[in-house]
Amino acid sequence: MTPAPALQPLELWLTPETGPLLPQLRQALAAASCAQAGPSAQPLRWAITGVDPHRGLRLEGVLVVATEPAPAEPTPAAPAYGAIP
C-alpha cells in the first residue's frame, strides 16, 4: 500500500537568475512544496501563469501530499512508471 494522497494548491513567485530556467523552477517548486506541506509533497501539475516586473514569475500548481508515513519498503503498485512516494 502506498500512503493515501491528498491534494493542495500551490502558488509561488520566483525571480530567476540568469541561466537555464527549468532547473530553477523545479528547485523552487520542490522547496515551496516541502515548506507548505512537508517532505512528502510533490508537484502534480504546475505552470508559469504570470509575469510581473517586480515579483518575477508566478507559478501555480497542485501538490500531491502523502498523508500517512510511507512503509519502510514500499511495494510498487503497478508494473510501470512511478508510484506515489
Partner: protein, 358 residues
C-alpha cells in the same frame, strides 16, 4: 518510392483550463491537430486537444498522450511505444447516480459494438471521489478530489484485472445556472472542468504508469439557442466518454527511459513543439525549449495568460495562426530553414549561424 520527407515528430500543447480561443472548448483543437499531424507526419498531443465528447478523429499519425505523461516524455523520462490496441478499463466514480452511470456503460458498449474497441473490465470506486472545482490566481481552472485514494485503488484493481489503459468518469458538480458556465457555452471564459480533469488523469497516470484519460459525468444541460459552436460537442448526448475510449484505444504505452525498444518514440526525436504564444510556461514546452527543439509560438491563439517568449527569454518561431505553424513544421520536415521563408532575410555574419529558430 515515396517523395515525402520522413515524419518530423512534433509536440502540440494547448494548455487546459486557461481559456484558449482554439482548443479551450470541446475538442475545438481537433482541426488544428489534424492539420499539424498531416504537416509533421507524427503529432504527439494531449486529450484536451483531441477530446470532443461524442466526436473524435482517429489517425495513426496522432498520438494521444495524457498531460502528465506528456511532460515526462518531453523531459526525456518516458518513451512512447505504439500499440495496435489497448484494453481500456472503465473506472466509474461511485458518486455517479445509477441512471447516469448506466449511460456511461452504454457509451462503452456502443464503442465495443460499433467501433470494435476492447473495453473492460468496469470498476466502481469504493467511495465517491468528491470532485471540487476552483480557479487559481491567474483565473485558470483547477480542482481537487476529496478522496483520491479511492481513485487510485480502483485503478489498481483495473490493472490487476488486465486493463492496459483506463478511462475514468467522475461525477462533476452541477452548476447549470452559473455565470462561468454560461460564458463558456457562449464562447468566452475558461472551461471550469478542465483543471480538475487534468488533476484526476495526472494522478492516475503518475500512479499506474499506463495511459489514462478522463470524461466528466454530468446531466444534460437545458437547450441554449446561443451556444458557441466550439462548445457544441458537449451538448450532443448523455456522456463525454466516446472520445476518451477512442483516444485511449491506441494510445502509446509509456516506457521509462532509458529504453532500447526500437519502435518507441523518444523525446530526442522531437523536431518541433507548437504552443500558444501566451502560454509558454508549461513544463513540456520549457523542457523542449531548453533542449533546443524549435518552438513555434502561435500568436493567433490568445488565452488568459501572457507568459510569452519575451517574458521567459525564449527564442521562438512566431506564427500568426496554426495554418502558418503547419507551414513552419512542414518547412522543418523538409529541411528548409524557416528564416529563408521570411523577409527581410538577415545577412550572414561572423558568429551568427543561419538556421532554424529566430
Amino acid at each position: 518510392m515515396s517523395l515525402a520527407a520522413p515524419p518530423l515528430p512534433t509536440l502540440l500543447v494547448i494548455p487546459t483550463g486557461v481559456g484558449c480561443a482554439i482548443g479551450g472548448f470541446a475538442g475545438d483543437g481537433l482541426p488544428t491537430a489534424r492539420l499539424l499531424a498531416a504537416a509533421s507526419g507524427c503529432l504527439i498531443t494531449h486529450p484536451n486537444v483531441l477530446n470532443g465528447a461524442a466526436l473524435y478523429w482517429s489517425d495513426r499519425r496522432l498520438h494521444y498522450v495524457e498531460g502528465w505523461a506528456l511532460d515526462r516524455f518531453a523531459a526525456g523520462e518516458l518513451a512512447l511505444a505504439p500499440v495496435a490496441r489497448q484494453r481500456v478499463g472503465l473506472l466509474l466514480d461511485a458518486g455517479i447516480e445509477p441512471e447516469l452511470r448506466q449511460r456511461q456503460i452504454q457509451a462503452a458498449e456502443a464503442c465495443r459494438a460499433s467501433l470494435g474497441l476492447t473495453i473492460g473490465p468496469v470498476q466502481i470506486t469504493e467511495a465517491p471521489l468528491g470532485v471540487g472545482l476552483s480557479l487559481g490566481a491567474s483565473g485558470s481552472s483547477w480542482g481537487t478530489l476529496a478522496n483520491p485514494e479511492a481513485l487510485l485503488r480502483a485503478g489498481e484493481r483495473l490493472v490487476a484485472a488486465g486493463a492496459t489503459a483506463i478511462a475514468v468518469v467522475a461525477r462533476f458538480p452541477d452548476d447549470p445556472d452559473s455565470a462561468s458556465l454560461a460564458a463558456y457555452r457562449h464562447g468566452s471564459g475558461v472551461d471550469a472542468l478542465a483543471g480538475a480533469e487534468a488533476v484526476i488523469s495526472h494522478l492516475l497516470v503518475r500512479h499506474l504508469g499506463i495511459p489514462c484519460a478522463h470524461a466528466p459525468a454530468l446531466p444534460p444541460l437545458p437547450l441554449d439557442p446561443d451556444l458557441d459552436p466550439r462548445a457544441a460537442a458537449e451538448e450532443l448526448g448523455h456522456t463525454f466518454l466516446p472520445c476518451v475510449l477512442v483516444g485511449l484505444s491506441r494510445a502509446p504505452n509509456l516506457v521509462p527511459e532509458p529504453t532500447s525498444r526500437t519502435e518507441a518514440l523518444h523525446s530526442h526525436q522531437l523536431g518541433a513543439v507548437v504552443a500558444p504564444a501566451g502560454a509558454l510556461g508549461g513544463e513540456a514546452v520549457l523542457s523542449c525549449a531548453e533542449r533546443g527543439v524549435p518552438l513555434i509560438a502561435v500568436t493567433g491563439n490568445p488565452c488568459l495568460l501572457e507568459v510569452t517568449a519575451a517574458a521567459l527569454g525564449l527564442t521562438v518561431l512566431s506564427a500568426g495562426s496554426y495554418a502558418e505553424a503547419a507551414g513552419l513544421v512542414l518547412a522543418l520536415r523538409e529541411g528548409l530553414d524557416p528564416i529563408s521563408l521570411r523577409r527581410p532575410l538577415p545577412p550572414l555574419s561572423a558568429g551568427r549561424p543561419s538556421g532554424g529558430v529566430g
